[in-house]
Subunit: 384 residues, 2 copies
């Protein structure tokens, strides 16, 4: 059989050299550098998403996520996308049109939750705190009294401000008001204590490229029994096919029914990333992050710099540092990147132009990285 | 400052060995084996998603996708998820509640389009063909006359049946009826001619793990000017935050505004995958796939096996072979996997238990792989 192939336009044919990339020490809000063993794992030849060996790996990943999140939740899986996809998965699977969703906004990612919940038909209510601040239990109680929501959504680790929202007692409060507790642990999982079951969290999400030392591309998601019940009771289909947990549950649960082709290599990566954390022990990992953060904070203070968040609410993973008066924050960041290969983040939203964001997460949370950054900052910044 | 760290439950702490994976030749419906240069690229240390070098890479990927799809569409990007996410992106960004969406169902993935479109509030109409068959231009005209849809959705390469839907003339028809043409090229992009602009396609999606020889995890998406106009005109927000092209366009367009953290390493991979195809030349790639497929078909015939799809509609990428009477199809597949490390697909949906699915895609479309498979099949199958 002879088939005539069509003629082809060369208009968009670009001739490129093989990939060349600069070396970077990623000390911004993420992605953070990946562990070399994780990079090695994602470079393995793929196997099928229904291969017996891959099904075994899925079980391992689920178990290790439960350990690191400290939860017994059955439905704990890596979503096939980046952190925002896992965020949307918690919303899509819990919100029914007309539900009152109360969002605690204390930074950029709270606002994202507001936007997402609205798209799923929620009656969204908000409470606000200045960027860098957190909510007290009394303030949350008052807001629950007033709004009587079906879901309370809070950001545990606000990546835009570097503040950590305390969560002890919040789950009890939500049970008292018969509402689900949904939290963002994008910048805390695998680095800062996340005691999901002890706190009474019903839905949570995270990412792979921060505390887990894996490149971005698969993102932890978990939902507990109360959230599963709400999903089972809902009248209409989840308004998102790709992230529908009633379908995904058939693949990640015992049935192993095909839903979509899992990003197998990224799953190789997260499996190794989680294994390394379990080897080190999660409490040791938490302590390492705190020790290195405190070492950074002391060094910044020695340089005459001020942290934006009070120490009692400061995240060990991400530090917002005020840009001193008269200093061009962007120029400093550019100099660090161009001359030293170090990425530091700028401010986001309300804090744009006001702070730098310094991340010490996962594989990068090491004393030598703090020393390197501090010594360069000492050279680059004007002496006060 | 002394912080007391909480005590930890060891219940889910699994002690694992470093990742060990079997070697597989993936001759099923996908994932297919990745090119070694692609695997090397995705193992590079990540850089930031707003790093100047990454922004440059984004432009390269967009250009190469336009070449391989043969389109000038400005909004051509890799979606941060697997093929089903890109599929949902075409639906989410084109369907407004109440729109009539006409889906041509000739296999499993047509049904998936029906499910997805319904979730976005479409008034879904369907036309059907037996699995393995395709629609004629006359049949499509008649259905457009009857249903007057806003969108016609067709599967160019039906992965569940191995049939290729001819598309020449369909875009003209859609313009005549003032409707958008949306097509699935998951099993055709980078392997079978996809002449998007010549055919008048308005929206298309694909995946990375088949014709492109990259692992799954980033997925080509494109929308043309007519689809962009509909998006700009829509009253409500796109009912999906992660896949909202009006937001993604600000990151992938010239503004480079942060939306979500791109899966940077998977983008390294697809950049290399597309570069390799552009180096080989897309028409050479198409010819290689056709030649190797014809070689496979001849070999299967020599073994007394029958292809499910008539040769004129048969996809070069994926061949459905009827399981001979009296042969246990699953047992043969298991034997191939366990004894020879070769993955072959089983039937899906209506064809479950009736066919095997043999993929020759991207890096795997090589004569030596056909020889290896045929010689094993000759040994394993009972002589007729």
């Amino acid at each position: 059989m002879t088939v005539t192939l069509p003629s082809v336009s060369e208009k968009h044919r670009v001739r490129l050299q093989p990939l060349e990339l600069p070396e970077r020490l990623l000390l911004g809000p993420g992605p953070s550098n990946a562990h070399p063993a994780v990079l090695e794992a994602i470079s393995r030849p793929p196997i099928g998403h229904l291969d017996p060996k891959f099904l075994e790996l899925m079980t391992e990943v689920q178990g290790l996520l439960r350990y690191i999140w400290q939860t017994d939740n059955r439905l704990t899986i890596p979503v096939s996308g980046t952190g925002s996809a896992a965020m949307e998965a918690t919303i899509a699977n819990s919100v029914e049109p007309g539900d009152v969703v109360l969002v605690g906004v204390m930074g950029y990612f709270g606002n994202r939750l507001v936007d997402m919940a609205g798209r799923y038909g929620a009656d969204v209510r908000t409470i606000h705190k200045p960027w860098g601040d957190v909510f007290s239990l009394a303030e949350l109680r008052q807001a629950l009294e007033e709004h009587r929501p079906q879901i309370l959504a809070l950001v545990h680790a606000e990546t835009s401000t570097g503040a950590e929202q305390p969560l002890a007692g919040v789950g009890d409060l939500c049970r008292e008001f018969d509402c689900l507790l949904l939290i963002d642990t994008v910048t805390s999982l695998g680095a800062v204590p996340t005691l999901l079951d002890e706190w009474g969290v019903d839905l949570a999400y995270s990412c792979s490229q921060k505390g887990l030392s894996c490149p971005p591309g698969v993102s932890p998601f978990t939902m507990g029994p109360r959230a599963e019940e709400k999903l089972a009771r809902r009248k209409g289909k989840v308004a998102n096919w790709y992230l529908d947990m009633s379908l995904l549950n058939q693949y990640w649960g015992s049935d192993r029914v095909y839903h979509h082709t899992a990003p197998v290599n990224m799953n190789f990566g997260i499996r190794e990333a989680l294994r390394l954390i379990a080897d080190e022990g999660i409490e040791t990992v938490w302590k390492r992050h705190r020790d290195n953060a405190e070492y950074l904070w002391a060094g910044l203070e020695d340089l005459g710099l001020t942290c934006h968040v009070p120490v009692e609410n400061r995240l060990p993973t991400l530090t917002t540092v005020r840009i001193p008066e008269g200093v061009d924050g962007k120029a400093v960041s550019r100099q660090l990147l161009d001359e030293h290969g170090i990425e530091m983040g700028g401010g986001l939203g309300e804090l744009a132009g006001k702070v730098w964001r310094i991340g010490l997460m996962g594989y990068n949370s090491r004393r030598e990285n703090v020393d390197r950054l501090l010594s360069i900052l000492a050279d680059v910044l004007p002496r006060s």
